[in-house]
């Protein structure tokens, strides 16, 4: 396509359709979708579930194939396999996703946003229609290149077909995706989970929580402004970890940590190691004022849900406080009890889910008010039967990206 040809006068909708017609059709689809949003009565999102989504996928791919094979001479199909259609649909999908990136996707007070459905773009008719055109272009050119296979097209096929598979499986899979949350308490079996709409769902197995464990980092030391109560050091970022023997400098104060107890209780004037529910960490610190060489020594503690915190006032303006320890790791030691009487033991941890009969079980959360003394562990159970197809798509794209990196260089070398 040379640039000189563009200067030749060409009427709208004359063969072949170019950018003007492509954007005309694309924007037309979006406007149609927005009209559907305003006037359609059903408020719920459009989803297909098994087996209809599978029928849809098979029907769609067969249709694309038939269209390419026998109707390739028609204006519409020719247009869909050409660049203007691809670029216009990429641009318009980008525009709608950009709307999603700017307007928060939560219930909105604005009438315009609510009526046009701009706060639920992923299930907005305008988005679905333009995405459908995007997928149709992608599907058709994938079929085209697969049927005219050449090794030089290998990367092209991997990238395009991979994206097609990952997208279509992801979209159609939402109808079959189940995400449940399950509360389990130490020493009790649980089998009734709740879904996103707060409905109770009975699981085909029970989960028995043997032990819930939290590992914590040491608490941190912070300098607090007495008047505002906010952290007056390093903009509240990157505070120092409390470690026995360390010395830190805050403004003109030298703070030395004489002792640190991870679990302690106040006994008289000092803290002693104790091990009971809600026993907070504490430290003995010495604060030296560099200006006048005065030294103060005291115990401070971050407190817990049972005990108050203790800070040390070091001047008119400032106090030294100990922050609530941050969580390093949390895990649930569980048994899965099946209906057949099996007992499977495993430990769940963040980033380490467990697979059981098509379900993936995740460590999600716990009672954060109780912190490390929580005996509640919140698990998430996810079933996504379309995942293998999505993964095939993703791995094709990974291979395609590696190919692209490699060949991108090769082309240069030859030139």
């Amino acid at each position: 396509m040379s640039e000189n040809n563009i200067k030749i006068q060409r009427n709208l909708w004359e063969n072949p359709w170019g950018y003007v017609e492509s954007f005309f059709i694309g924007i037309g689809l979006i406007i149609t979708g927005l009209f559907l949003e305003v006037f359609s009565t059903s408020g719920s999102a459009f989803t297909l579930s098994y087996p209809f989504n599978l029928y849809f996928l098979i029907g769609y791919v067969v249709l694309l194939f038939v269209m390419y094979k026998w109707f390739t001479t028609t204006q519409l199909i020719r247009w869909l396999t050409k660049v203007p259609a691809s670029i216009s649909s990429i641009v318009l999908v980008t525009v709608l996703v950009m709307v999603m990136g700017i307007i928060p996707q939560v219930p909105s007070e604005s009438k315009i946003i609510t009526n046009l459905g701009l706060n639920h773009i992923t299930s907005n008719w305008a988005f679905l229609l333009i995405l459908f055109q995007f997928l149709t272009c992608l599907g058709l050119i994938s079929i085209k290149r697969i049927l005219q296979f050449k090794w030089s097209n290998f990367g092209f096929i991997l990238n395009h077909t991979g994206l097609f598979l990952a997208l279509i499986a992801g979209i159609l899979g939402t109808g079959d995706l189940q995400r449940l949350s399950l509360d389990v308490y130490e020493g009790k079996p649980s089998w009734v989970a709740t879904n996103i709409n707060n409905q109770k769902i009975e699981l085909p197995f029970a989960i028995y929580l043997k032990d819930f464990l939290i590992d914590e980092y040491n608490p941190k030391l912070a300098l607090v402004d007495n008047k505002t109560g906010s952290i007056a050091h390093n903009d509240g970022k990157n505070l120092y970890l409390v470690e026995k023997g360390e010395t830190y400098y805050f403004k003109n104060f030298e703070v030395t940590i004489n002792d640190f107890l991870p679990n302690s209780g106040r006994i008289g004037a000092r803290y002693e190691p104790v091990n009971e529910l809600g026993s907070p960490p504490s430290a003995s610190i010495s604060v030296k004022n560099i200006e006048n060489d005065s030294i103060q020594t005291a115990w401070i503690s971050s407190g817990s849900f049972r005990y108050p915190y203790e800070s040390l006032k070091i001047s008119e303006d400032y106090s030294v406080v100990m922050t609530i320890p941050e969580v390093k790791k949390f895990s649930s030691d569980i048994d899965i009890l099946t209906k057949e009487g099996e007992r499977i033991s495993t430990v769940l941890e963040v980033n380490k889910p467990f697979k059981h009969k098509g379900w993936k079980i995740y460590q999600l959360s716990y009672d954060d008010k109780m912190g490390k003394w929580s005996n509640l562990s919140v698990l998430e159970l996810v079933k996504d039967p379309w995942l293998p197809l999505i993964y095939i798509g993703i791995f094709m794209m990974i291979a395609g990206a590696v190919y692209m990196f490699w060949m991108g260089n090769k082309i240069t070398k030859n030139q």
């Binding site: 990136g101 996707q105 505070l239 941050e326 390093k328 998430e380 993703i394 692209m404 260089n409 240069t412």
Partner: protein, 267 residues
């Protein structure tokens, strides 16, 4: 406590590189000066690597969590990209640009001192963490370079001495950067499946990462079919980088920010 040593290390690096830039400038007149320039760049880079390694060892976690730490990686990768591109394409101005950008990032870090937070939340403790972030930062650095090429191209065509080689350099950088961008996006999806139970949740950062990806996708498709219209291609490339910048730190200022899991600047 190597962030405390940062002013020392960064001053050594910056001094070496600035002297190197001076020699690079001289080399336009006297070819021999180029060797000295390269020697200075490489030794500065060696000090840089030494600092990164020491920092990593000291922190006991990958130094990739805070914005300051990502700037450090940016400063590490840019000279590398500058060198590789220089070896292949012999563009001195490009080498100078990448070194100057690296100096800028080191300066920003010097002006915003970070101390040594060692804590890392459980969701980040994953084997995917390092590849996801490294691949992304490398890709951002390459794409940033490509956008500078775009700006130079636009400037050249404004002056009327545009060469098509400039666009070819941009193409190469975009291909490499885009391949890595795709990998970063997909690694993120695979990790999210392991950590949060779903590979894609339209988190604001994900939305903008997707938009960045789409932006470069438009450029690649446009270039593939319109090899002659250089000016529009350059404009698309410059715009794509604006989207990338929004994704990198602009997201934090958008109305959607508070729903993101990627707010790594808060600690």
């Amino acid at each position: 406590m190597t962030w405390i040593d940062f002013p020392l290390y960064s001053s050594i690096i910056v001094i070496l590189w600035i002297i190197g830039l001076v020699f690079l400038l001289i080399s336009y007149k006297k070819q021999a000066a180029l060797k000295i320039a390269n020697l200075l760049f490489v030794s500065g880079w060696a000090v840089m690597i030494l600092f990164v390694v020491k920092l990593w060892l000291e922190l006991d976690r990958p130094p990739m969590r805070t914005l300051g730490e990502t700037r450090l990686w940016y400063a590490t990768f840019l000279p590398l990209i500058g060198f590789v591109t220089y070896i292949r394409w012999k563009y001195k101005w490009f080498l100078a640009y990448s070194i100057a950008m690296a100096i800028m990032f080191l300066t920003i870090n010097y002006l915003n001192p970070e101390t040594y937070s060692k804590t890392l939340m459980p969701a980040l403790q994953s084997p995917w963490f390092i590849p996801h972030v490294l691949v992304y930062l490398f890709s951002y650095a390459v794409l940033a370079a490509s956008s500078i090429v775009a700006i130079k191209g636009l400037y050249d065509s404004y002056k009327g001495n545009f060469k098509i080689e400039t666009l070819k350099l941009a193409d190469n950088l975009v291909y490499i950067g885009f391949a890595f961008l795709t990998l970063g996006l997909l690694f993120g999806a695979l990790w999210a499946k392991e950590a949060w139970g779903h590979y894609w949740t339209w988190d604001p950062k994900e939305v903008w990462a997707f938009l960045t990806w789409m932006g470069y996708l438009i450029y690649i498709h446009y270039r593939y079919f319109h090899t002659q219209n250089s000016k529009r291609a350059l404009t698309i490339l410059a715009l794509a980088f604006v989207v990338l910048l929004v994704c990198w730190f602009g997201v934090n200022y958008l109305p959607v920010a508070n729903t993101s899991v990627h707010t790594y600047t808060q600690y």
